[in-house]
Symmetry: C2
């Protein structure tokens, strides 16, 4: 295993450990569902991005942990709701029953509904100066709203208007790209990076966010559920428009590689050590799960 | 119509007008569902509380409008989700089809999911000093999370543990009382009231919040849907534990009256003109819808 992969595992477990600490511990069905949905061995891409950006700036470990956890809570809530019968109707997530399968539909909806404000409560409590906390809250709120994540999700499920690569890109940028970009942006704000550097990192974020999504579509076709932890071919089964369905598998792989390369080129414009962010771009398009 | 009722109507339309302005205007199904769910002639109790508390302190009209709108968005999202088939399965809300009936279930879930972050985005943008904005965000986030509104809702739908007045009170305090209390608390913070005054107003809020809920249960039994805008007797149909089902209708009415009286007595301890808040307590337990 490479040094970088070791670092990713270290950051994954740092994120999971902090999530474990901040989630409610009581035995109510709501708290159990919240913990089940969050502490399920996720990839923790967004926390990893927060930590990697944190490396190149100056933020306390504690504040990065809080930011990483808050953003991951938002991501996890979105997965719970995406999996619901009225949306993607998925039974498996990361190899385990989805939250509505393990509990019930109402509990799953409410677990998601409770993770979201917990994220904002955490953000309001970050150990940082007030105006930066407010910028972070605004960025996260905007990224997960009707112009961001939720707006992308509704386009995904009512996908009649998604017919070509341009509209597919736009949908994915909203659905996953915005929150990925925000993870990077807010970590940059928290780390005291210059506005110009934050802008470049956001551009990098939009490239790797899209690359990540294309790779997800590729994994859905190529990886059996024993490896991916999802139902294999579930996109095709649901007649979802994906990169491979529009452009073919080979072309999709090339596009993901190109996006990773473009992301890495943007990093060259930042006069700090961005080697790990560069390795992440490669990792994103080579992963099998 | 009394002068106070005129004021309520004026505040209702002020709140609705501001909501109209801040909701997205495009014709996407998500934006249409958000507008449909919010601009539906609601009672605007929480905005009214914000405005009434604002009257006794010093806050700009603009900042009160933003706070009122943000809290109402949270309330409206919770109604959309409460009405879902997997929860209360209600077809009517304020005399019109519920959001999942008018659109579909996925759209309803997502409209709720989009209203919540819009509320936090608004709060991060209130025209006020940073530390007060952060206190407000924290208070709202906490009130609508697993220890507040969402925690109360899950107790309501899995109501096996709600068997007596004490546990019913606790459930309702979480489900509706917390957000009502927060409307008052955050308006107090925004208006620069003293901490002691805010504490008294919170106590008043917990009394009238509970009174409001009991009155809701009474309305469910007594008012035909043509007046209440809801399915008459829907609580009984769903075997819901309510105040009338536990204590009887007569006793429930007495309790609501007592709570309103207690709320008014607390107001006497505040050395400012709280006449309108006092009138609101009376209004809450006399309303038929």
């Amino acid at each position: 295993m490479s040094e970088f992969e070791n670092l990713l595992i270290q950051y994954q477990s740092r994120a999971s450990q902090h999530l474990e600490e901040i989630l409610p511990l009581d035995n109510s069905v709501l708290s159990l569902a919240m913990r089940y949905s969050v502490l399920n061995g996720g990839k923790r891409l967004r926390p990893i991005l927060v930590y990697l950006v944190g490396e190149i700036g100056e933020a306390s470990e504690e504040s990065l942990n809080t930011l990483a956890a808050a953003i991951e809570l938002i991501h996890c809530y979105s997965l719970i709701h995406d999996d619901l019968p009225s949306m993607d109707n998925d039974d498996l997530r990361r190899g385990k029953p989805t939250t509505h399968k393990k509990f019930d539909e109402a509990t799953a909806i409410l677990a998601g509904d409770a993770l979201q404000p917990l994220a904002f409560e955490l953000l309001s409590d970050i150990n940082d100066v007030d105006h930066r906390k407010l910028s972070i809250i605004k960025s996260v709120a905007s990224a997960c709203g009707h112009l961001g994540m939720v707006g992308g999700q509704i386009k995904d499920i009512h996908s009649d208007n998604v017919r070509d690569i341009t509209s597919l890109d736009a949908m994915h940028f909203q659905k996953t790209g915005r929150l990925i970009q925000t993870s990077i942006e807010t970590a940059g704000i928290l780390s005291g990076l210059e506005a110009k550097e934050v802008e470049l990192l956001k551009e990098y974020g939009s490239k790797i966010g899209l690359a990540f999504q294309i790779q997800d579509d590729i994994i859905d076709i190529e990886s059996p559920s024993s490896i991916s932890g999802k139902d294999q071919g579930s996109d095709e089964e649901q007649d979802k428009i994906t990169y491979p369905s529009l452009a073919g598998l080979k072309e999709s792989k090339l596009r993901a590689q190109d996006l990773a390369k473009e992301g890495k080129e943007i990093l060259q414009l930042i006069s700090k050590n961005t080697d790990n962010l560069s390795s992440l771009a490669d990792y994103i398009v080579s992963r099998k799960t």
